[in-house]
Structure formats: C-alpha cells, structure tokens
C-alpha cells in the first residue's frame, strides 16, 4: 500500500527531469570515457607518428608534417645499411619458429587436453615454471651449447632458442583452444572408422583456426622482436636480424634520425600488421585458455 503511494511521485519526478539527467549522463560519459581515452590515444599514437614524420621528410627539415614526402631514408636503410638482408633473416627466423612452435604446440596441447596420463601435471608445472626463466640470464650457457653445436653465427641457433622460449605458453594456450572443441565430435569420427590422426585433421583442426592464428602470430611477433639472442649468438653482419640491425643503426647512425626512423618503420610494419589482424583473437584466446589455467 504505502510503497505504491511512494512510488508515484518519484516516477513523476524522474520523467520531469529526464532530459536534463540524460544531458548530465552524456557529459559524465565524455569525462569518464572519451577524455581519458583521447589522452591515452595521444600517448600511444604520437610516438608512432613522430617516427613516421622523421622517416618520410627530407633530412634537415623540421616541419611537424612530413611534406614533401621522400623515400630517400628507406632506400638508404634498405640498400646501404643492409635492412634488405636483416629483413630477410628476420623473416626466415620468424617463419621457421612460427611453424615449429605451432606444430609442437598443437601436439603438446592435444596431449594435455585429450589425455589423462601419468606425469601430466608435472608437465604442466614445468611449463608454468619456465615462465620464470629469464632468457637474458641463460645467454651464457646457451652460447656454450650453440658453440658446441656449431650454430654460432647461424640463424638455426635463433630458430631453436626462440622456439624453445615460445613453446611453453603456446602449449598452454593451445590446450585451452583444443579443450573448447568438444571431444564427442572427434569420437564420433573415430567410431566411423577414422584414425585418431584423421579425426583430428578432419574435425578438430578446422575449428582450431583462431587458436592457430593466435599462437602462430604470438610466436612470430615474439621471435621477430627478440634482440638479445640475436645479439649474442650472431656477430656476422650478414646474419643480423632486424632488432640487431636497428640497435646497430641507433649506435652507428645516431645523428641520422631519418635512417633511424626509416629502420624503425621497417621493423614495425610486419608486427603491427600481424597484430591488427589478431588483436581480437588475442583477447578471446587469453580468456579461453591462459587465465583459466
């Protein structure tokens, strides 16, 4: 009874001031959402923009807008400093490491997701523990190993080392993706006479596309960006990868900002493109796999 009486004036009040309140809410939304987002976007984008400006305007120009546009810095870094070679090396290392990581991650992830075997939890613990192993601090023993394997100055050392450091997280992520594919579908295929491998290839693999994309690009970006291994295991300039080449540019061409910026653009373009494609898989993949553990 009394609540009914109370409710009516309150409701009437609300409709009377509805538009004013909505206006206030809009202003609140701008302050809460767009202002901080805009500020953060500036913080993110201005550094990229600054690099582009330096890469595209002629040396000596100080305009904040790169006009007239010149590509002289790109020809300098690509042909004279050797970015064509660095780029090729980085692509070789990145693609091989991507392939090896993805194949091994599918195998390991499948074992973790579909089988309950002895040593499974130990394997999980080892994978998680590896996340605490600093690559920078294993430089010394890894150098010795690669030296005895005759892999110093070869891209093989980088492919191996990067794959090993990519693998643990990739397996954990991949097992999350595989678990999300219902086992019953696979079982049905096996009942129909498929081998496990055929069933996997025909039924599971097509549904794993987001997982393959997420894990593969994660491995590629990580490998493309790795600096210390390449710095330590490769000292011949014709085996430099992009990050080493870039650090060399920073050191040797410190006055030539155009070259530095153009080298930076060359280094950034592949990963930023890959990233733009995978960004939504990434968030989804983490909520599907890693956080759940």
């Amino acid at each position: 009874m009394s609540t009914g009486v109370m409710a009516r004036p309150r409701g009437a009040h609300a409709t009377a001031s509805g538009s004013r309140r909505r206006q206030g809410r809009d202003r609140g939304r701008v302050l809460r959402l767009y202002v901080p987002l805009g500020l953060y976007l500036l913080f993110t984008v201005v550094p990229f923009y600054w690099m582009l400006v330096f890469a595209l305007r002629p040396s000596g120009s100080t305009t904040p807008v790169p006009w007239p546009i010149t590509f002289e810095h790109f020809t300098t870094v690509w042909n004279d400093i050797g970015y064509a070679m660095f780029f090729r090396n980085s692509v070789i290392v990145g693609v091989w490491s991507l392939l090896a990581t993805t194949v091994l991650a599918v195998m390991g992830g499948y074992a973790l997701s579909r089988f309950r075997f002895r040593g499974r939890s130990l394997f999980m613990v080892v994978l998680l523990c590896t996340q605490f192993i600093p690559g920078a601090m294993l430089l010394i023993p890894l150098f010795s190993i690669f030296k005895s394997l005759g892999l110093i100055n070869s891209l093989g050392s980088l492919i191996l080392a990067d794959t090993v450091f990519n693998l643990p997280l990739s397996i954990i992520l991949m097992s999350g993706f595989i678990t999300a594919v219902p086992y019953s579908v696979e079982e049905a295929a096996m009942v129909d006479g498929c081998t496990r491998l055929r069933a996997f290839l025909a039924v599971v693999l097509p549904q794993l596309r987001p997982g393959l994309i997420a894990v593969g690009s994660f491995a590629f970006i990580h490998t493309w960006n790795n600096f210390l291994f390449a710095l330590m295991f490769v000292s011949r300039q014709d085996s430099f990868t992009i990050p080493v080449g870039l650090s060399y540019t920073i050191g040797e061409y410190s006055a030539d900002f155009g070259a530095l910026a153009a080298g930076g653009v060359v280094a950034a373009v592949p990963v930023v493109c890959v990233f733009a494609v995978i960004q939504r898989y990434l968030v989804h993949g983490i909520s599907a796999g890693a956080v759940k553990g």
Binding site: L37, Y40, P47, A111, P141, S144, F227, F275
Partner: protein
C-alpha cells in the same frame, strides 16, 4: 598391443617439447649452477678452473655494482608494475564499454604491445633528443633527458610504460569479459552505484587476472633487458643497470662467464623467492 600404443600417444606428442626444454632450459640452468663455481672467462681461457665460492664472495662483498643494480631492479619493477597495473586497469575498463569506434580504439591503444624493446628505444630516442624531440614543444629546450641523472629514470619509465601498459590492458580486458552481465544488473537493482559495483563486482572477479598479470609482468620487467640495454646502456653512471642487464653486459661485452653465472644464480634465487612469496600472499586461485 593396441592399449600400449594408445598409452604411448600422449608421451609421443610431448616428447619433442620435453627434449627441447630439457636441452635448452633445464640443462643450461644446471650448467649455470656449475659455471658459477668456476673461473671461466672466454678472453682468459688459461685461468679457467674450479673457483669454489670465490665468485659469490666477490659478488656479495666486493662488487658494489651488484648491490646497486639490485636496488635499481627493485625500484624499476615496482614502479613499472604499479603504474602499468593502474593505467592498464583504467584502459581495460574504458575499452570494455561500448562506443562507436571501439574496435579501432582497441587496436590503436594495444598496438605498442607488438613493438620490440629496440624499436621502442628508437622511437623514444627521437622523442627525447633535444634537437628533434617533442619536449621542445612543452617548453623544455636543449635538455638531454637520457643523460641527466635527475630525468633519466622518469624518461625510461615512460618509454617502458608506452609498451607495457597494453599487455596489462589486454589481460585485464580478457578478465573483464569473463564477468557475467547479470551480476552488474543485480548490483544495480540493489542500488549499488558505479563505484560500489566496481569494488564489489569487478575487482573480486578480476583478482586472479590481476595477480597473474602482475606476477607475469614483474618477472618480465625484471628480465627485460632490451630497452635499457639500447636506450641508456645502463647509464648514466650505471644508475639504470638492472641485475639481468648487468649479467647480459658481462656475457656480451666482457665474456666473464664464471662471474656472470654467479650473478645469474643470485637472480634466480631472488626471482623464485619473490614469486613464491607473492603467490602465497595473494592466495592465488584459492576459492573464496
């Protein structure tokens, strides 16, 4: 026979990974432990041999740079993780709202995540160099922020934030998307305002994601060498040298592997100790 084969399947599947991890992660750690008790310097091979605890004695009692780098490592990790968590959380909450252009905004603010430490260095050198940088426009002409003892720390912190915040935001956004919408509705029906909904619904649900993100990132920032190695080289006057950077410099520049291994062991022990302590204190994964 068939059952035996079926039992072998998971082991066959993980065997390449096990071999790789054993050969390139476990064995190296063992050999670091071994080298740390040896004199081993690639530039002075004639002096190699058993050293006992000499390397550790030298580290603890004679090497001021070890203690200095340790102190800087702590300052670096705590500052970076605190700020990255704060900004990452705010950013994740913002891009979790629905608004026009959200997809593009997400791609843009997350993109520095994909950029390497060396590239971050390249970009921020352009921004920080007095003749070329953006600080000119902020009324700070002709100061070399990276060469100045007072400004070098905030300068490297900002550069690393630029690259580090997106990872936090990505992990926390994934956590936010796992919170059922009904909980917010129920809280709103109960009359909870925005701040109370954040405190009583969002934060408890993000707990594990926050603990995981801070731990992973702390380890990562601890180990992160690329940026400092290329941006400041640990300088000026070694004030931005972290322990792993110190080890890497030892390994790359002076090839003193015995002493470098002793430093590495110290790094392992510290990392292990704080990781376990952190997981215990935060009661990660416990039912509440």
């Amino acid at each position: 026979m068939a059952t035996l084969r079926r039992r072998a399947v998971p082991y066959l599947l993980i065997s390449p990974t096990v071999v790789l991890i054993a050969a390139f992660l476990v064995y190296p750690i063992g050999s670091v432990a071994y080298y740390s008790l040896q004199n081993r310097n690639l530039t002075r091979p004639w002096a190699d041999g058993f050293a006992g605890l000499d390397n550790f004695r030298r580290m603890l009692f004679e090497d001021e740079l070890f203690w200095q780098s340790l102190a800087f490592t702590a300052k670096w990790v705590v500052t970076e993780i605190g700020l990255q968590l704060l900004l990452g959380l705010v950013l994740a909450l913002i891009v979790n709202e629905s608004f026009i252009g959200r997809g593009l905004a997400r791609s843009l603010v997350f993109s520095p995540w994909a950029v390497s430490g060396v590239l971050t260095t390249g970009i921020w050198i352009l921004l920080y160099t007095p003749q070329t940088g953006v600080l000119r426009f902020l009324g700070q002409p002709e100061t070399a922020v990276l060469g100045n003892l007072d400004t070098v720390f905030p300068a490297v912190v900002v550069a690393e934030l630029w690259r580090g915040v997106p990872f936090f935001a990505i992990l926390l956004l994934a956590g936010l998307q796992g919170i059922p919408g009904e909980l917010y509705e129920a809280a709103a029906v109960d009359g909870a305002g925005r701040i109370r909904r954040f405190r009583h619904v969002t934060l408890p649900h993000l707990r594990d994601a926050i603990v995981l993100a801070t731990l992973l990132r702390s380890v990562w920032e601890f180990n992160n060498v690329d940026l400092l190695y290329t941006l400041t080289g640990g300088g000026p006057a070694q004030v931005t040298t972290t322990l792993p950077l110190y080890v890497a410099q030892r390994a790359v520049d002076s090839k003193d592997f015995g002493y470098g291994s002793a430093l590495t062991m110290a790094g392992f022990v510290i990392l292990l100790f704080f990781s376990i302590l952190y997981l215990r204190l935060s009661r990660f994964g416990e039912e509440r």
